[in-house]
Each structure stands twice: as C-alpha cells, then as structure tokens.
C-alpha cells in the first residue's frame, strides 16, 4: 500500500499535488507561475492579517465586538469588508483575463484550463461574493435605521447568514491554495461539470461554495422581509417607507423565492456527482436541459435582486443631493413591484438557443422586453427629481450621473438581446459579456459604491475624501467605457466569449483597447483603496458626530454618527414620507424626549462562529471526500443549534440613565453647534448639522 492510499481515510483525495506551488516549481510555465503567485498572495495575505491583529492586540476586541456580535450595523460592516476583499480578487482576475486576450492572438500566456478557471472564479466571486454581500451589508446597515428599528427581527439568524456567506467565500479562496476551482463558468452547466467529464474537485468547490452561500441569502431575505413588515416605527405606513427600503423589500422577496431554484440546481448536481444519480447525465435518462432551466430560474431574478437595491440607493442619493423629495415616489414603488414580479417570467432569454420552438421563445422574448417599461419610468423619475433641484456634485452624485447615462445604454442592448432572432446571432459572443457588464457595473457596482460613500459617514462618524473619491469615480466610468464598449464590437464581429485565444488578427486591436480600459479600472480600484487610507488619516477634519452631513431626508440621519448600538434612544413616531426632512423644516428635527426607558438588546453569541468553522470544514470535507470530517462537522453544527435551543434567549438591558446621558449629551452638542449650508457641505465646518435652506425653485 502506498503512503497516500493508507492515509485515504484521513485526508480523502488530498495529496501533495493539490498544492499549486509545487507544480509551479516543477514546471514553471507562465500559467503555473500566475497560479502560484495567487496562492502565495492568499497565504501571505492571511498570515499578514493574523500577524497584524496579534501585533496590535486586537483579537479580543475582534471577537467580542465583531465576530460574536448580533448588532445589524456591525454585521453589515463585516459583509462589506468581505465584499471589498473579494472585489480586489475579482477585479484583478478581470484584468488578467483582459491581458490574456490582448496577448491572445495565437496563444497568450495562460493555459486554456487556467483561463477557464479564471472566468469561472471571477464570475462566481463577482456575483456571489462581491455584489451579494455588498448588498446584504448595505441593507443590514441602513434598512433598520430607515424604518426606525432597533435591530432586524432575528439578530442571531442574521449572524448565521453572514457566516454562511463567508463560508462560500472562504471555500473559493481556499481553492487557490488547495486544488483547483471549477472551469465550468459561473453557471456550471453539466455535462461539463458532470462527474464523467470532470471528476476533479473543481466543480465540487463551486457547488458547495454557492449552495452554502445561497442558503445564507435565503435566510437573509427572510429576515429582511419580516423586519420590514414587523419592525417599522409606529406610524410608518408601507407607503411612507423610504424608497431604498421599498427596493429592499422587493429584493428580499426575490431572495426568498429565487434562491430555492439555485439550491435545487446545485444539490441535484451534487447528487449526480456524489451518489451516482442521473438528473443531468448524458446516459440513463438524464436531461441536462433541466439544469439550464433551473439555473436561470434563479439566475434571472438574481440580476434584479442585485439591481433593485442599487435603484433604491440612487433614489436616495439623487433626492438628497438635489435637495428635493423624490419625483413620482409612487410610480417608483409600483415600477419596483412590477419589475420584481416580471423578473420571474423571463428566465428563458438566457437560453433562447436551446432548441425549444419559436412560440416559447417569442413568449419569453416579449415578456423580457416589457421589463424595459417600468425601468424607463424610473429613469425619468430620477431625471425629474434632479430638475431644478439644488444639485451638489458629490462623489455619490458622480456615480449617479455615470449610472444614468451608461445604464441606459446597457438597458438598450438588453432589449436587443430580448429579441430571440438577435440573440441567436450574438449568443455566446462578447456582445453578451459587454451587455451584462454594462448593466452590472454602472448599475449595481456604481450603486453600491455610491451607497458606500453616502452612508460611510453615518457608520464611522467621518466623511470620505472627496478628491480621491471623485478621481476613483471618474476612473471607474472611463475605465468601464474603454473596457466594455469595444466588446460590443468584438461580439458583433463574432468573437466568442470565454476564449483564451483566437486566430483572427482583426480582433486584436480592440482587445488592446479593452486592455487599456482594464488598466483604468485597476487604477479605479487602487484609488478607491487610497481614498480609504487617506480618509482615515485625515479623519480629524471630516468629523460629523452630529449625524446629518448631507441634509438627509430619512430617519437614519436623525441620529448620531456612528449611531449607538440601540440606534434610537427613543423610537420615533413617524408621520408621512421623508419624515426627518419634514421635521427639520418644521424646526423639530431634534425633539427633546419626555422620558427614557430601559432598552433590551440581544446578547453576543458564538453560534455564527461555530457555523463558520463547522461549515468551512464541512465544505472542504465534501470537496476532498474526507467523510469522517463531514459527519463530524455536521453533527457539531446541529448539536450546537440544539444545545442553544435549551438556553432561553439571553438579553441584556441597557439602563435608561445610560441612554439618557448619551442622548442628552448629543442634543447638547447639537444645540451648541452652528448649522452649515450646502455650500459648505464638503468643508471641515460640516460637523453633521444642516442649516435650513429652501432649494431654489422648489417653493
């Protein structure tokens, strides 16, 4: 018996060749070296963070204040940190792919398999571990504040959802160091990801990271729906909710109903791979078309799940920085609802070419085109909101203008693709890649970045640097245009997507233009990180402890920055829309409460960490066939939940005197402070108290 097989029970199918660094030493091709460098970056990055934390002595506070916290604000911030870390990897991968295609005439520097791994990880990461956690983070932070709640309905479940998302991200990161990720693209179609074609660990990494993170999203969605229905401040009717909260409600409903098809698709694929089922195999009655159908039953609602909160953010940003209430609030709400329902009726447009009859294609094509109508309504509403407003071109507004112009182009190419005959022509070409990046980057990503700039001062008590922010935003906008507009042309010229190389020299010039754009996007990412560094360094000049740096309109601006853990010292009574803006106009923005009460808050819990560690172990065990570890981690996790259920839910009381002291101190600071006008918005004088000004023309 050889050494590895005698260890088989212990380490499954892991062996030394699973480490990418050794093959790179044995066979130093460029492709292997890139893989080894990536692995080293993960290892060194992880070690570096661990060393830094130890050196600064941060472990206890990390554990107590963050990892075991059930505070929705801290959970939200952790989601966003996760998203930013993963975004660095995702963008770098995008840049490497653009470099490969620029050099790709008759070759390039990466092997085909490595390129395939790159677009698979890039797509998976960008959707599941950048866009989704970024959204979940912003929702977590902002939505409870906007509805005047002290927390989400199920704080512990919230922590578990974060853990489930983090497990998925951890598995994708580990796949850089142990073995390989899938090469099957982000939808992972069988039979390409079936066991017969690919018996390796790659598809299994994809399955478990996506399935586990997907479960986390389902539970987040559930939590958000309940929170919005049950925790709104007294007096706040559904049609008084800020628009962001409305889009969150619709997104959360989509999460609840659209993640299950993904769960079904991934787990049935797993049954095929692990237990010799035949859902999607080529032989014995499997039908791989079923997988495609199931995946897009999830996949299409997913893109609306991503874009709707971005629409919500732009609504808040445009309204605030135009100093006007939203034009056509109700039409925006109805448009959001219509989009959510329609998003469940169009999934087939992702596989018009599968072979069903023209009637089926026509029905789904027409349904797809309909979505443009409510979306168009929204664009006009935003423009009308800006019309004659007191517009300030702060960083979020730069993103908003970039969004309004670029997103319309992306939407128009979407309407083109909704036409089955056109789709047949450009299916699987770079035209499609250009289209979806054109809606996802200016739409989702710009929205998220706008939200990051907009709410950052709320979360941390100081503003982000405007100059670096503007530079970064302009890099994103121009970089996007240079990277992706050429791909429309390349697609129409017939260049297939997912090509590691090509033989037609006429493709080459435009791939170089796209490479230049990718370099600009790289600068955008770099300046974004520089901005964060600079902003932290200069934070003494940008303090906004009083809480309202942008003359905000909704409840989250009516409390200190950063907010106390209980958010609202006194739960506000809400009358009407834009509650805080109205109160400020009446001169009652900061009422003195009649009295204070004790506040009950949930205690910290380790449950999320048990899930994080147990779930990561479970995922790895399944990927590498380490059965004892799979059983063990599952038993430990279930056991932890059961044990927890025997301990009555612990609470912690914050005494009224403590609440009163903090709140009174803040009110006193407000009474002393001098309000700033919008002209001084980005100067050091802005400490978060807005002067009452009437926007021109709004009277």
């Amino acid at each position: 018996m050889s050494g590895t097989s005698s260890l088989h029970w212990l380490i499954g199918r892991l062996d030394l060749s699973s480490l990418p660094i050794l093959p790179a030493l044995a066979n130093p091709t460029p492709s292997e070296i890139v893989a080894a460098v990536a692995a080293l970056m993960v290892i060194l990055g992880g070690l570096g963070v661990a060393v830094l934390i130890t050196w600064r002595g941060w472990w206890t506070s990390l554990w107590r204040d963050w990892l075991t916290s059930t505070d929705h604000k801290r959970i939200g911030i952790m989601y966003i940190v996760l998203a930013l870390v993963m975004m660095v990897r995702g963008v770098l991968e995008g840049v490497v792919m653009r470099a490969q295609q620029a050099a790709g005439l008759d070759g390039g520097f990466l092997s085909d398999g490595h390129f395939a791994e790159l677009f698979s990880t890039h797509g998976t990461i960008m959707i599941f571990f950048v866009a989704m956690p970024f959204i979940a983070g912003l929702i977590n932070y902002v939505m409870p504040l906007q509805i005047g709640a002290r927390d989400v309905s199920f704080p512990m479940l919230n922590q578990v959802s974060l853990a489930l998302t983090a497990i998925g991200a951890a598995l994708v990161m580990i796949s850089l160091v142990l073995g390989k990720f899938s090469t099957g693209g982000w939808p992972a179609y069988p039979p390409y990801t079936g066991i017969a074609f690919n018996p390796g660990e790659g598809p299994d990494y994809w399955i478990w990271s996506v399935a586990i993170a997907g479960l986390g999203s389902t539970l987040s969605g559930l939590n958000f729906v309940v929170t919005i229905f049950k925790e709104r401040a007294p007096g706040m009717k559904l049609f008084d909710m800020p628009l962001f909260t409305w889009t969150v409600l619709c997104t959360a409903i989509i999460m609840v109903f659209a993640m299950p098809p993904l769960t079904v698709a991934t787990l049935t694929l797993a049954l095929d791979r692990y237990l010799d089922f035949h859902f999607y195999t080529n032989d014995l009655g499997g039908n791989m078309m079923n997988y495609v159908n199931l995946f897009w039953l999830f996949g299409h609602p997913e893109v609306y799940l991503l874009i709707l909160p971005a629409f919500g953010i732009f609504s808040e940003v445009i309204s605030t920085f135009s100093g006007k209430c939203l034009y056509g609030y109700k039409s925006l709400v109805y448009a959001t609802m219509v989009i959510s329902v329609l998003s469940f009726t169009v999934w087939l447009h992702h596989f018009f070419t599968m072979g069903q009859s023209a009637h089926v294609n026509a029905a789904f094509g027409v349904a797809s085109m309909f979505i443009a109508v409510p979306t168009g309504v929204k664009v006009y509403d935003w423009m009308a909101t800006m019309f004659r407003g007191r517009i300030r071109l702060t960083v979020p507004m730069i993103y908003a203008t970039g969004f309004l112009t670029l997103f319309v182009i992306g939407g128009l190419t979407g309407v083109m693709l909704a036409n089955p005959t056109i789709s047949y022509q450009v299916h699987n070409t770079l035209f499609l890649v250009a289209h979806f990046h054109n809606v996802i980057i200016p739409g989702v990503l710009f929205g998220l970045l706008a939200g990051y700039h907009y709410w950052f001062p709320k979360a941390f008590g100081f503003r982000l640097n405007e100059r670096w922010g503007a530079i970064s935003a302009l890099f994103w906008i121009t970089g996007f245009a240079f990277t992706f507009f050429p791909l429309y042309v390349l697609g129409l010229m017939g260049m297939p997507r997912r090509s590691a190389s090509y033989v037609d020299p006429s493709f080459e010039p435009l791939t170089w233009v796209a490479m230049f754009g990718a370099a600009l996007i790289f600068c955008a990412l770099a300046t974004l990180l520089i901005q964060l560094r600079v902003s932290i360094r200069d934070r003494a000049q940008t303090q906004v402890p009083l809480g309202d740096p942008w003359d905000g309109r909704t409840l989250e601006w009516s409390i200190p920055s950063p907010p106390p853990e209980y958010n609202f010292a006194i739960v506000p009574r809400v009358v009407g829309r834009d509650a805080f803006a109205e109160a400020k106009e009446r001169g009652q923005g900061y009422p003195k409460p009649a009295g204070y009460e004790d506040i009950e808050m949930p205690r910290n819990t380790m449950l999320g960490m048990v899930v994080l560690i147990g779930g990561t172990a479970l995922g790895l065990a399944l990927v590498w066939y380490i059965w004892w570890l799979a059983v063990l981690s599952l038993v430990v996790m279930i056991g932890a939940f059961i044990a927890k259920s025997f301990v009555p839910e612990p609470h912690r009381i914050i005494p009224a005197t403590e609440v009163a002291a903090a709140h009174e101190a803040w009110l006193a600071a407000i009474a002393k402070a001098s309000p700033v006008t919008r002209a001084q918005e980005t100067s050091a004088e802005n400490r978060g108290l807005a002067a009452l000004e009437m926007p021109e023309g709004a009277a």
């Binding site: 109903f257 098809p261 039908n287 078309m289 079923n290 159908n293 199931l294 039953l297 469940f344 009726t345 999934w347 087939l348 599968m354 072979g355 069903q356 009859s357 009637h359 089926v360």
Partner: protein
C-alpha cells in the same frame, strides 16, 4: 380529568370536520385508481381535483386560514407563493416538454 370547555369542544369538532373531509378526498382518488373502470384521463383529472380541494381543506381546517379581513395578508402571501410556483413549475414543464417534442 377536567371537562372540556365549550370553546374547546367546538374547535375539536372543527378539526374533525376537516379530518373527515380530508379522508373522503383521499379515499375517492385512491379508490378510483385501485378499482379502475374510468378512463385514465378522467382518473387523472379527478386525482388532481381532489388534491387541490384537499389542500384547501388543510389550509382551512388545520392551518385556520379563511377569507376574513384579519387573515387577508396571510392568504395573500400564500397566493403570491402559489403564483410564483406555478410560473416556475408550469414554465419548466412547458419548456422541457416542448423541447422533448422536438427531439
């Protein structure tokens, strides 16, 4: 043993009514399949009809849903879920059968 309150007894009766209905709606399709004598398409139609009615019976008698104002939101959630499910499941069956027919 303490005697049951009249409320309690009324509610037990409620459950029993539901149980009897469910029983009938189970016996009918099972009997039909067991003893046959009816065209297959009719059997299938009756099985489907009984299943739908029995689902409503369960919702009504075991889960206590009705059309009163108070429960309107509950009913709406269920109807919405049913709508989404029928779009998904119905669409899937339509698409895959259409494909199979062309292979």
């Amino acid at each position: 043993m303490t005697p049951y309150s009249s409320d309690h007894r009324a509610e037990v009766r409620h459950y029993l009514v539901g149980f009897a209905l469910a029983l009938t709606l189970t016996a009918l399709p099972f009997g039909l399949v067991a003893w046959g004598g009816v065209a297959r398409i009719w059997v299938l139609a009756i099985v489907a009809g009984c299943a739908i009615i029995q689902t409503v019976v369960h919702l009504r008698y075991f889960l206590h849903l009705d059309l009163s104002r108070q429960k309107r939101e509950d009913v709406l959630l269920i109807l919405f879920s049913t709508l989404i499910l029928s779009i998904m499941a119905g669409g899937t069956i339509w698409i895959v059968f259409n494909l199979a027919g062309r292979m």
